[in-house]
């Protein structure tokens, strides 16, 4: 546990110590807020996409503050790819499970009481699946473009 502490302190990549400390402090709360937007998507404004974007932004902040090594340890590109695909797959599987009631995308779970968290049938589940997909793919896009952009700028410097 002290390992990562030391590593953060010694690593040259990323931003200054002040930004790092603040990100370390706020990271958990950002993730919590993203999860809140996702899970309450059927009750309040928000939903899978909006919450997923917030979650992805959390990881992007992590990358900006600490450099990509530490961020990729939290969510590796392989992990993001798996998360991405399984999120999309989960969404389709939820749709296919509707066949238990005879229709594709049938809302087959009990709708519950209005304004309670456990209500709305499959909609919260769909939101979670979408959030997984959006988080992973946005993070993957960011990582891909960041790495590739670095590669390109290296290429340009070589030219000059």
């Amino acid at each position: 546990m002290h390992d990562i502490e030391k590593e953060i302190r010694e690593s040259k990549s990323g931003m200054t110590m002040i930004v790092k400390t603040i990100v370390r402090f706020a990271m958990g709360i950002i993730i919590l807020f993203g999860a809140y937007i996702v899970l309450y998507g059927h009750l309040t404004p928000g939903g899978g996409f909006a919450g997923g974007v917030i979650l992805a932004c959390g990881y992007i902040i992590l990358t900006l503050a600490f450099g990509k090594d530490i961020a990729l340890r939290k969510l590796s590109d392989q992990g993001a790819s798996i998360m991405d695909n399984s999120g999309a797959l989960a969404f389709i599987v939820i749709g296919l499970l509707g066949y238990t009631g005879g229709y594709f995308f049938l809302n087959f779970i009990d709708h519950g009481k209005r304004f309670e968290l456990f209500s709305g049938g499959i909609i919260p589940l769909c939101n979670i699946a979408i959030a997984l997909k959006v988080t992973a793919s946005l993070f993957a896009i960011f990582i891909a473009l960041a790495i590739f952009g670095k590669f390109i700028s290296g290429l340009v410097e070589e030219e000059e």
Binding site: Q78, S81, I82, N85, S86, A88, L89, I92, V93, G95, L96, G98, Y99, G101, G102, Y103, F104, F105, L106, N107
Partner: protein
């Protein structure tokens, strides 16, 4: 069978994601998975031909709420075309795509594209149509640039920009229609539009749709992306793009919306006939000058889509007789099916030639019939068919279209259609002379026949070429009758809203 209708989109999308997951464990599994998925889809689509028209309510919501899926003659026909060609292309890809890296990603994008096209065809909801259109388009943008070489990236970027404009045009049109009618459900919208009539707003929507879907179908003023994009893609993708994508995203959507939602009117008719004639002539003339195997085929696609457009334009004219209208629609649909078959065949042939010789420059090829007899025989069947020689399928469809044009009294358009037939013959003679016959260059003395998995789809498509030509009466009664009945029967389409 009816309750499994949404699986046409669910299977390819699900397999696309499973594919990326499973290839992390087992490299070969992706091949089989894609093969099985498209095979099942092809089988299902053929079975679907013999099921009568019905509508499906996703999630059990009653219309006009919820998403409506429509199955009638037209969509069954398109499903067969899409899924059979996709299956054959996947068989071809098994060997061909080993020359590229990142095969699992290729299969995923391919299946996404198929899923998107199936979605466009089966949906009865206008916004849903837009979403699936975009899924198929985005997958195709990525597939065009799959090789990541200079030309491919440039073609992909050009295609993306123009495709993006087309999509926004379509979305704008849909937004307008929503503001006029207050619904997105196609049958419901058709009912509302009958009350409104063709006012200026609807005319604007028509212009946007002709621009947007015309660009996807690459009719002439909007064709600039096609001759770059189609040759740049890997051969099986070229076959899918030219054979299926421009029809599912462009021609089918025009058919569905113009015939069923907005309804036939003389304005659309004259625009589409003019664009069709222009496409035929320009595409044909440009094709003659090409030195690249696939580029020539791409220009020929523009020209052949012109035939379909002109026939559809004729059928959209409310002023002509019922018989002529039916004739024009049969011609359009039959030519659409035929073009899917022989253009895929020719593109796959070009892929096989490229796989063995490493070039597609017509000047460098020659005499290959001695080295690759099966491939080249199928290639010549394809070219004869597209040029419209009698026993093959292309002849019948062109004949019907020309007959319909002449019957309706459009002598000039009829003459153009006949003339373009000759132009087509001319450039395919050039193709034959440069690839099949002539002197075999020294470099190609070691060339062998293409591998079995590449020859098999070629042979199947060639048999289809001959078969569709000879068995034309059967084809008409079994496949096309239902489709043209559907197209002419707008009231029947609107009744789908009420029926289950």
């Amino acid at each position: 069978m009816q309750q499994y209708y949404p699986l046409f989109t669910a299977i390819p999308l699900a397999i696309a994601f499973v594919n990326l997951l499973i290839t992390k464990i087992n490299k070969r599994a992706g091949d089989y998975l894609a093969l099985i998925a498209t095979g099942v889809l092809a089988y299902m689509s053929i079975k679907m031909l013999f099921v009568g028209p019905f509508s499906y309510h996703v999630g059990g919501h009653l219309p006009p709420w919820g998403i409506l899926l429509v199955s009638d003659g037209l969509s069954s026909l398109m499903l067969v075309v899409i899924n059979v060609i996709a299956f054959l292309s996947i068989i071809f890809s098994l060997k061909y795509m080993t020359t590229y890296t990142a095969k699992p990603k290729y299969y995923s994008l391919f299946l996404l594209m198929v899923g998107g096209m199936n979605g466009v065809v089966i949906t009865g909801d206008l916004f849903n149509l837009y979403v699936f259109l975009e899924i198929a388009s985005i997958a195709s943008y990525a597939l065009v640039g799959f090789g990541c070489e200079k030309e491919e990236l440039e073609a992909s970027f050009k295609y993306m920009i123009l495709g993006g404009v087309a999509s926004t045009g379509v979305l704008f049109g849909i937004a307008f229609l929503y503001s006029i009618t207050g619904t997105l459900n196609m049958p419901d919208m058709a009912m509302q539009l009958e009350l409104v009539g063709i006012n200026r707003a609807v005319a604007f929507v028509i212009a946007l749709f002709v621009m947007g879907f015309g660009l996807k179908a690459s009719s002439v003023p909007f064709h600039a992306w096609l001759p770059d994009a189609h040759p740049s893609a890997p051969a099986p993708i070229s076959a899918m793009l030219s054979g299926v994508l421009i029809k599912a995203l462009g021609v089918y959507t025009i058919m569905r919306i113009m015939f069923h939602v907005i309804g036939p009117n003389p304005l659309v008719s004259s625009i589409m006939m003019f664009l069709g004639a222009l496409s035929m002539v320009v595409g044909g003339l440009l094709a003659i000058g090409q030195e690249d195997f696939k580029r020539m085929l791409a220009y020929s696609s523009i020209s052949q889509i012109g035939y379909v457009m002109i026939a559809l334009g004729l059928a959209l004219n409310p002023g002509i007789g019922m018989m002529t209208k039916a004739l024009a629609i049969v011609g359009a649909l039959f030519h659409l099916v035929n073009h899917a078959v022989f253009k895929s065949l020719l593109f796959l042939c070009s892929g096989a030639v490229e796989y063995r010789t490493g070039t597609r420059d017509l000047g460098k090829l020659g005499g290959l019939i001695r080295k690759m007899p099966v491939t080249m025989t199928t290639c010549s069947i394809g070219s004869l068919s597209i040029a419209g020689l009698p026993p093959f399928n292309g002849f019948w469809s062109k004949l019907i279209i020309i007959m319909a044009l002449l019957r309706a009294g459009y002598m000039v358009y009829g003459a153009i259609a006949i003339l373009v037939g000759f132009i087509t013959l001319a450039y395919f003679i050039k193709l034959q002379a440069n690839v099949l016959f002539g002197k075999l260059p020294e470099a190609f003395s070691e060339v062998r026949e293409a591998p079995f998995s590449m020859v098999l789809p070629l042979v199947i498509l060639a048999i289809l070429c001959v078969g569709l030509g000879i068995a034309y009466p059967f084809v008409e009664t079994e496949m096309l009758r239902a489709a043209w009945d559907t197209l002419l029967d707008k009231a029947g389409f609107m009744n789908l809203l009420l029926g289950g």
